[in-house]
């Protein structure tokens, strides 16, 4: 009597709900299909690349004949011949001789900082560190500015040529000469509608530091009350004292308008092999940011054309690009520009001639100058900021690209089964629980009192969510620890790593004492797995927006790890599938642990087995990531590590409701894992 009206009252669920239920009931098949499809499309990506094309019509590259002529190349030669000991001063004099404006920028190298959260702070608005008079360890950038005869001074194109002021190499001189000759041409050009800034960067502390210091000052101008006194280092010991007025004028920092685009060019080491000069384009900035594709297209259009690469070469390029994007560390000083949303590309010329061969040199200068002039001309034509073409793409070759719509497909396929599996497990535990409860009721009616009566059936996941939150809290603490560990003076990487590991274990144990161990509340492993998968899909989804390459690589590791995870003690399977599952679980659990993965990669690449130094290397690698404010660091510690720990929790799940034993069990298990890792 009671049940009949209840069943009639149950309405038929909506179509979308029924569809979801259907998919959830076939979640294993579905996830296998989706994952394999995802991996296959990922492998197919290089052959799905499309030809690049110029979206912005205003660019019209190659429209005008280049004005850069042999005279300019000869001018470069003259520049090289006349070089003095103190380069900064010499460059400034040369620029002044052209009638352009000139100023110096003095900077000190910044100490290593821990700022993994830089991405989320709205602007890089930390104040520029002003070198004070006593500091002798500083670098000097020399800046030349050509004011556009036809412009309003609101927009600027930046040319950057780096050199090391402490020991100038011949190839650096070549790139300086190239920069100067282009600059001298532009100072005479009547067609300029944007200002041109030529920044010759003092790269004695690294290019990136110098460029970012200049950019920081450029965007956060500080008006100094006292004029800065010049040093002998800048003018050289035997500088002629030519009046204070000129000095202060030179020292005052000068600005032009907002930057439209920037071009960094340097001449690389002379290649001994190969039959032609080549130009390498570097564009990956921090966190996998790329400049607008149109800028690369212009450079490619103007540079020498090449044949379409085959699949293998395309894959290699793609893998290289994905790797450097996933690391989240810029591949050159162009990263500094990308932090200020300036589209930028680094060009590295690799000439094939001998250094003494003057003829080949001037030909090379002519070509290089024509290329740079062409790019400047194209950018000069722009009426708006670069916006037409793609920002989110991978290049398999300079003329082949994979757009966001294409490369999202494999990732989406990998991610698609996650909500379904989560639904299957979250819903499954609810529907499964009733018959199980009944069975228990029938078998041992006396023990019912012992089983903790959970309240709402649909809110049982709250316990699992609590476990997740505690683990996330742990992950946040662990990711912040290095900030304090770096404060310890004179610690070797090995010691720092050990302190880190020990502290993380201590925190984990403390948290489990404070909030109760994860199994004590009697969380079902299915709910735990559902929580794990949901949190992972949120994390991967977020990361795919911040840095797609990291998310893609991470998904390849973490998704199989989570989908395979199943308690080691769980029964209800035949021997063979169970042992296969068990083996794969253990393999994924080892591979998924970041230090272990790094160690294995290192060991495989080197072949040697000096674990202690490698373990220190892990610390250095981490340091490298957070210094460059790479979000990959955050991904590793806020998404990957909690997922891994939850996976381990699922694996070690006792599958029983006996409470007293469990607590020891899980602490022991975790401790065991950490110590086995620590032993390395």
């Amino acid at each position: 009597m009671k049940s009949v009206p209840k069943q009639e009252a149950q309405p038929k669920p909506r179509l979308i709900v029924r569809l979801g239920v259907f998919l959830a009931s076939h979640h294993i098949l579905f996830s296998v299909l989706c994952c394999s499809a995802g991996i296959i499309t990922l492998l197919l990506l290089p052959s799905l690349a499309k030809n690049t094309y110029l979206s912005e019509n205003a660019l019209i590259p190659g429209f005008a004949n280049p004005l850069f002529s042999t005279e300019d190349a000869i001018e470069a030669n003259r520049f090289m011949k006349g070089i003095e000991a103190v380069l900064a001063n010499f460059i400034a004099q040369q620029i002044e001789a052209l009638g352009a404006e000139v100023c110096y920028h003095k900077f000190i190298p910044r100490s290593k900082n821990f700022h993994p959260l830089k991405f989320f702070t709205s602007m890089t608005n930390d104040m520029a560190i002003q070198p004070n008079g006593t500091d002798t360890n500083f670098g000097i950038n020399t800046i030349g500015i050509v004011r556009a005869p036809r412009g309003d001074g609101k927009e600027t194109i930046v040319l950057v040529s780096p050199y090391n002021s402490q020991s100038v190499q011949s190839n650096e001189l070549l790139s300086l000469a190239l920069g100067f000759s282009v600059f001298s041409l532009l100072s005479r050009a009547a067609w300029l509608s944007k200002d041109v800034v030529w920044l010759s960067v003092d790269s004695q502390f690294g290019e990136y530091v110098a460029v970012s210091a200049w950019l920081n000052l450029y965007h956060n101008l500080v008006f100094l009350s006292q004029s800065v006194i010049l040093h002998t280092k800048m003018y050289g010991a035997n500088h002629i004292n030519d009046g204070n007025s000129e000095k202060t004028e030179v020292m005052a920092f000068k600005c032009a308008g907002t930057m439209v685009a920037a071009l960094i060019f340097k001449v690389g080491e002379t290649r001994r092999y190969g039959d032609r000069d080549s130009v390498m384009m570097y564009a990956e900035a921090s966190n996998g940011q790329m400049p607008n594709l149109d800028l690369l297209n212009v450079v490619h259009y103007l540079a020498v054309h090449r044949q379409v690469p085959d699949y293998v070469e395309g894959t290699a390029n793609l893998a290289n690009s994905i790797y450097s994007q996933a690391l989240g560390v810029p591949t050159g000083s162009h990263g500094a520009f990308c932090d200020y949303q300036v589209d930028v590309v680094s060009l590295e010329f690799s000439p094939t001639f001998h250094v003494r061969n003057d003829n080949a040199k001037s030909l090379f200068r002519l070509r290089g100058g024509m290329l740079i002039e062409g790019v400047v001309r194209s950018v000069n034509n722009l009426l708006e900021k670069f916006h037409q073409s793609f920002f989110l793409y991978f290049l398999t070759a300079p003329s082949k690209f994979i757009s966001v719509g294409m490369y999202m497909i494999p990732f989406a396929l990998l991610l698609a089964p996650l909500p379904i599996v989560a639904a299957a497990f979250a819903g499954g535990s609810k529907s499964m629980e009733k018959p199980v409860d009944k069975l228990i009721e029938h078998s041992k009616a006396d023990d019912i009192a012992d089983i903790p009566q959970s309240k709402g059936g649909s809110c049982k996941w709250l316990q699992a969510a609590k476990v997740l939150l505690v683990i996330q809290l742990w992950a946040v603490l662990v990711s912040l620890l290095p900030y304090y560990i770096t404060q310890i003076p004179d610690a070797t990487p090995m010691q720092s790593t050990l302190i880190w590991v020990v502290l993380s274990i201590v925190i984990l144990i403390a948290l489990s004492v404070l909030f109760g161990s994860p199994y004590s509340a009697g969380v079902e492993w299915k709910l735990l797995k559902a929580t794990l998968i949901t949190s992972m899909s949120i994390g991967l989804g977020l990361m795919s927006i911040i840095n797609f390459a990291t998310a893609q690589l991470g998904a390849l590791i973490v998704i199989p790890m989570c989908l395979f995870s199943r308690p080691l003690k769980a029964s209800g399977m035949n021997f063979l599938p169970r042992s296969v599952l068990l083996a794969s679980n253990i393999v994924f659990a080892v591979l998924g642990f970041p230090p272990a993965a790094v160690l294995i990669m290192k060991g495989m690449s080197k072949g040697s087995c000096s674990w202690t130094t490698d373990f220190g290397d892990f610390w250095i690698w981490m340091e490298f990531l957070w210094e460059w404010s790479s979000e990959t660091y955050l991904y590793l510690y806020l998404v990957h590590l909690p997922c891994w720990l939850l996976c381990i929790l699922v694996l070690l799940h006792p599958c029983r409701q006996l409470e007293s034993k469990i607590k020891e069990d899980w602490l022991f298990g975790l401790g065991g894992i950490f110590f086995s890792v620590g032993k390395f």
């Binding site: 309240k455 059936g457 649909s458 996941w461 949190s535 949120i538």
Partner: protein, 463 residues
């Protein structure tokens, strides 16, 4: 439980204090999710400065809040201690305000629970009372309010939303405990501060008229009729009829009287404050007019900014009417459907306002999620809670990232951020629909009640 509760509450307040005192400048005030043009404390400081300079605080379209807030919080925005974030004194006030709101939510929960127990007892269902009440809803609700990350962020992020929320909570508490002056005060202040709580007059009047949430009247009628079949004394019947409360006009009239008095007070004070620097007319135009005509199109977590940025100018007035009517449309049907549960109705209205208002923020969501906690026992069996929970987490993480990508990185565009706004609205809608549908189709608190009544009705029929 009680000790545990106070520990948790103290920890939440302590956490807020730590964030306020030692958090440094978290730049939360500049997040569009936290502060809106209406609630931003930065704008308030600007308005105060203008007023000090004998200019209308509303000039220049900077400030759009109430003049009362201007004179209460304004002086505090002036002083800026070193080493702390800009509006530390205001933030300390907001911490206190949040705590007060949580206490009032707790008290409301206790009132609701007492009323529920009374009505269940009157239905001779003492067993159901003992069984179903396993969690103190008031405690849960106030803890949800205190520990809700959005409430914390709103409290620390220098915006006036906590005060608006407090006024709404005061109104609901006053109505639940039938304190007409208090309810009227909360109502007038909440409406004065953010206009939208005006529609809460329906649940307030129902609360004052009928009393707190009770099972639907027909349950009592069935019970009454079944009881009358079996012989019962007349005495019992009359007590039961007293429980099935008729609409009592006295508190409602009382409420309306106080409404009038408080409104006069607020208007008088405002006109005194705005004397010589613009009058009441300008205030109405720059506060209510600003809310209703959606003048500021800077992005927020709602959907209206995007829509009105896209819409053609000559359709603008039409769509303004449509969007504002949207809220009005749902008032009456919901009031009819849920008239026996005025408190739940108040929750539904606040949630609808949070979805459809012109400048929504995380603070509005914090309010309705806190109120949702009051019905934790009834909604324990709700569907999709797992996905709603993780959906809320996902959206609140996604929103800053999308905003960053659009505004600072330049690689995304407005659609990216709007997509999270849409997802957020969908989530809220699902939450609302599920909670309403659950309440209506399968009220678990009534399940034992109904079954007991069905069986008691069926027994005599069978025999």
């Amino acid at each position: 439980m009680a000790i545990r509760y106070w520990q948790m509450a103290a920890a939440a307040v302590g956490f807020r204090l730590v964030l306020v005192l030692f958090g440094g400048d978290l730049h939360l005030a500049s997040r569009p999710e936290v502060s809106t043009p209406l609630t931003s404390l930065r704008r308030l400081a600007e308005g105060y400065w203008l007023k000090q300079a004998s200019v209308s605080p509303y000039s220049g379209s900077m400030y759009h809040g109430s003049p009362l807030l201007l004179s209460i919080l304004g002086p505090l925005t002036n002083s800026r201690p070193d080493g702390h974030h800009a509006h530390i004194y205001c933030s300390l006030i907001f911490v206190a305000v949040d705590f007060l709101a949580a206490m009032l939510i707790r008290a409301t929960g206790h009132k609701l629970q007492m009323a529920r127990n009374r009505s269940l007892k009157s239905l001779d269902l003492t067993k159901a009372v003992n069984d179903s009440v396993n969690v103190s809803a008031g405690d849960v609700a106030s803890l949800i309010y205190l520990w809700n990350p959005w409430a914390i962020v709103t409290c620390v992020g220098s915006c006036t939303s906590p005060i608006e929320n407090l006024m709404v909570v005061i109104m609901i508490y006053g109505a639940c405990s039938r304190l007409a002056p208090l309810a009227a005060f909360g109502y007038v202040m909440a409406t004065h501060l953010s206009l939208y709580p005006a529609i809460l007059i329906v649940p307030v009047i129902l609360l004052l008229g009928y009393g707190p949430d009770a099972p639907p009247p027909k349950v009592f009628l069935i019970k009454g009729s079944s009881a009358s079949k079996s012989d019962e004394s007349d005495n019992d019947k009359t007590t039961r009829q007293r429980v099935v409360q008729q609409f009592s006009w006295k508190p409602v009239l009382h409420f309306i009287f106080w409404l009038f008095i408080w409104s006069c007070h607020v208007l008088l004070l405002s006109s005194v404050i705005l004397k010589k620097v613009g009058g009441l007319h300008e205030m109405f135009e720059k506060t209510y007019g600003f809310i209703l005509t959606v003048k500021d199109l800077s992005p927020n977590i709602g959907v209206l900014w995007y829509f009105f940025a896209e819409v053609f100018d000559f359709f603008r007035n039409f769509f303004l009417i449509v969007f504002n009517m949207n809220i009005i449309f749902v008032v009456l049907p919901l009031a009819i459907r849920l008239k026996h549960r005025p408190c739940f109705l108040a929750f539904v209205y606040t949630a609808i306002v949070a979805i459809l208002k012109s400048y929504p923020s995380a603070g509005d969501s914090a309010l309705y999620l806190g109120l949702l906690g009051l019905f934790v026992n009834e909604l324990a069996e709700m569907q999709f809670t797992f996905f709603l929970f993780f959906g809320y987490i996902g959206v609140s993480l996604l929103s800053p990232v999308m905003h960053n990508l659009w505004i600072w990185r330049g690689t995304g565009n407005a659609n990216f951020y709007f997509a999270t706004g849409l997802a957020y609205t969908c989530l809220q809608t699902v939450l609302l629909v599920e909670s309403c549908a659950h309440r209506e189709t399968r009220p678990s608190s009534l399940l034992p009640t109904c079954q007991a009544i069905y069986s008691s009705v069926a027994e005599p029929i069978k025999s």
